[in-house]
């Protein structure tokens, strides 16, 4: 991957201008959400003040392990992605679809007309922007459009951040989904830590440009821009993992009966954590509930996972009873069938499923093992140990 090209006319912002950015967005009616430390991890939550960011912290990630560590500077965005993804704001894990009450002659719907919040996401990474665009293609596909998602999405303001470092479980560079952000943001920031602490800011939309104009800024110098590009290029070089995509779909389809699936099933807990943390996993189930009196019925939408038995339950039983069948279904869908379904790989290389798997199962290692065995190389050790 070559050096990332910044487009538009870049501005340079001082750190104090970022608080003004938050204030302006809030004054425009946005609920600002950004990274914060909670329970020993960097999660996404409502953000009022820049001081709430994980200033001076970074994350050290490995398969099944995540630890926060102090940096030796005051970087605002000196970490990668954590256990949350933006999907929980665009498509909440639990959502009431409707409620109905029995009447004399049938039933009536009780409409809950609370409009969803207008979010401004602060600190969206390149991989995450790609993930949001994947969700768009799924949830806003013509007749099947999810109206609630669409409302949240159309109101969304995205402040993206280019990664200045990559995590041990990151592999966006090999998928072309990062570490520099692609189109789709309103404002993109690159944090510069050499010399004066400053940010190179680029507008990616008309409203992004309008908001940028209202906060204190100066034009970025050539030196600022060169440093921003070098920062991103450095992150691309220091990526902990990679995934070979050439012929990946065919490779997987050819190896549907490979013994490797049995080996990974020995370790897989079928806990579903990987799917829940994945920013592109989009499956949900629909659940109906009645109250004790039988007068009120509700329909709920809840995140689901292909690792549960209920997921593949039809008429008299589950189709995928073994861990092997379920892990294979997941990996095959992400890396192969997704290509047939949506025209792209369903993985953006964020590494969450590797880090947050309780036993460190690694999607890149599993795919690599199939490839290595096919080409007659020695099978690498599972990355979990």
């Amino acid at each position: 991957m070559g050096a990332y090209e910044l487009d538009g006319s870049p501005y340079a912002l001082e750190r104090a201008a970022l608080q003004e950015l938050l204030d302006v967005l809030r004054a425009h009616g946005y609920t600002t959400v950004g990274p914060q430390i909670e329970h020993g991890a960097i999660v996404y939550d409502e953000l009022h003040r820049i001081e709430e960011l994980p200033i001076g912290w970074t994350d050290v990630q490995e398969g099944g392990s995540y630890r926060l560590e102090r940096r030796n500077d005051d970087a605002l965005f000196g970490y990668n992605v954590g256990p949350h993804s933006w999907k929980r704001f665009l498509s909440p894990p639990l959502r009431l679809l409707w409620r109905a009450r029995k009447t004399e002659d049938g039933f009536e719907f009780v409409v809950d007309e609370e409009p969803p919040p207008r979010y401004a996401f602060i600190g969206v990474r390149a991989c995450e922007l790609h993930a949001i665009q994947q969700l768009d293609a799924i949830y806003m596909a013509g007749a099947a459009t999810d109206k609630d998602y669409q409302r949240r999405r159309e109101a969304l303001f995205i402040v993206a951040v280019n990664c200045g470092k990559a995590g041990n479980t990151c592999f966006c560079a090999s998928l072309g989904t990062g570490p520099g952000v692609g189109p789709g943001y309103d404002i993109a920031l690159t944090e510069l830590l050499d010399g004066e602490h400053r940010f190179v800011a680029v507008a990616g939309s008309v409203r992004g440009a309008e908001i940028l104009e209202t906060i204190p800024h100066r034009s970025a110098t050539d030196a600022d821009i060169a440093l921003a590009e070098a920062t991103i290029a450095q992150a691309a070089r220091r990526m902990g993992r990679s995934l070979e995509t050439a012929g990946l779909k065919e490779l997987l389809y050819r190896n549907i009966d490979h013994p490797r699936w049995e080996a990974v099933a020995q370790r897989c807990l079928t806990c579903g954590a990987c799917t829940m943390v994945c920013p592109t996993c989009f499956c949900f189930s629909i659940e109906d509930a009645t109250d004790l009196s039988g007068q009120v019925a509700e329909r709920w939408r809840r995140f689901d996972s292909c690792f549960t038995l209920a997921f593949s339950f039809i008429s008299s039983g589950s189709v995928r009873t073994s861990a092997k069948a379920r892990y294979r279904q997941w990996l095959m869908h992400k890396l192969a069938a997704w290509q047939d379904q949506f025209g792209a790989i369903g993985c953006v290389g964020c590494g969450r499923c590797i880090t947050w798997c309780p036993v460190g199962i690694d999607i890149t290692a599993e795919a690599a093992a199939l490839r290595a065995e096919e080409s007659g190389q020695l099978q690498p050790e599972p990355a979990a140990v």
Binding site: H39, A41, P83, R267, L269, T270, C271, D288, R302, A310
Partner: protein, 263 residues
């Protein structure tokens, strides 16, 4: 023919601590809705009035530990249209199933002055080991919202919506970062059935396994990770697996695999 009478609910107790029955009393507001819909025909914990069977729904708390228990649970089954076992005692034998790993006569001799008066079974057994059970509601104690869901489901003739997947899914739904990954805390959540809304991880603790094994538990893999990555000793593993659901086959077998292991 359908009658006008309200369905009759009974709550029965065997060897247990009453905690699950208390979950029903703990429903407070919802309890009023319950009594509007059902006639509480037998519930010593709540009222002294006793109504003869038959019962439409029997909730059974506690495990079977004496010969008299076996007789009584058979009578209850006879008198009940639906029988739901509630809590770890009724579904796995409870904490008292620790006796299953030793010799109950030795325990009795150590505790009682006259052990010859003690009539007890060798094992503490779940209800389903003795009679047919329509539904098992897990937990130590059970979750009151799940209990209300089960009662509502039986009242309206539908399947209770009680998930059998892992506690991990509940952690993720509520947004709790994993304590095992982020803090190296040993957690039973990946092999434990959901139901508590991931209460312990939300407070930085590993899951204690109150709801018993999830639908397809891979305890061997999780314990290998505890051993190799978290440095858990065999004794830690045995103790973690032998609590309220010690009597469950899955947890019992895995604990036995580590019983004679040494560091």
């Amino acid at each position: 023919m359908a009658t006008q009478r309200k369905p009759r609910l009974a709550v029965w107790k065997f060897a247990s601590c009453d905690g699950c029955q208390l979950s029903l009393l703990d429903c407070e507001e919802e309890l009023l809705a319950v009594v509007e819909q059902v006639e509480i025909a037998y519930f010593l914990e709540a009222s002294r009035a006793v109504v003869e069977g038959p019962y439409d729904l029997s909730l059974v708390e506690g495990s079977i530990t004496t010969p008299a228990d076996i007789e009584r649970i058979r009578e209850i089954r006879e008198a009940s249209r639906f029988l739901v076992a509630i809590g770890a005692c009724a579904t796995a034998g409870g904490i008292q199933a620790l006796r299953n790993f030793g010799d109950v006569r030795e325990f009795a001799a150590a505790v009682y002055a006259h052990p010859e008066y003690i009539e007890t079974l060798k094992r503490s057994a779940p209800i389903a080991e003795h009679v047919f059970v329509d539904f098992e509601l897990r937990g130590c104690p059970i979750n009151k919202h799940q209990l209300l869901e089960v009662i509502a489901a039986y009242l309206h003739g539908r399947k209770p919506n009680i998930p059998t997947y892992s506690v991990c899914i509940e952690c993720k739904l509520r947004g709790t970062p994993c304590v095992m990954v982020a803090a190296g805390v040993a957690c039973l959540g990946p092999v434990t059935q959901a139901g508590c809304h991931a209460l312990c991880p939300a407070y930085g603790r590993g899951c204690f396994g109150c709801y018993g094994p999830m639908e397809t538990p891979n305890t061997a893999s999780l314990m290998t990770w505890w051993r190799e990555q978290l440095g858990a000793s065999p004794q830690t593993i045995v103790r973690a697996l032998r609590t309220y659901n010690a009597g469950n086959e899955v947890f019992r077998k895995e604990s036995e695999a580590y019983e004679h292991a040494h560091d």
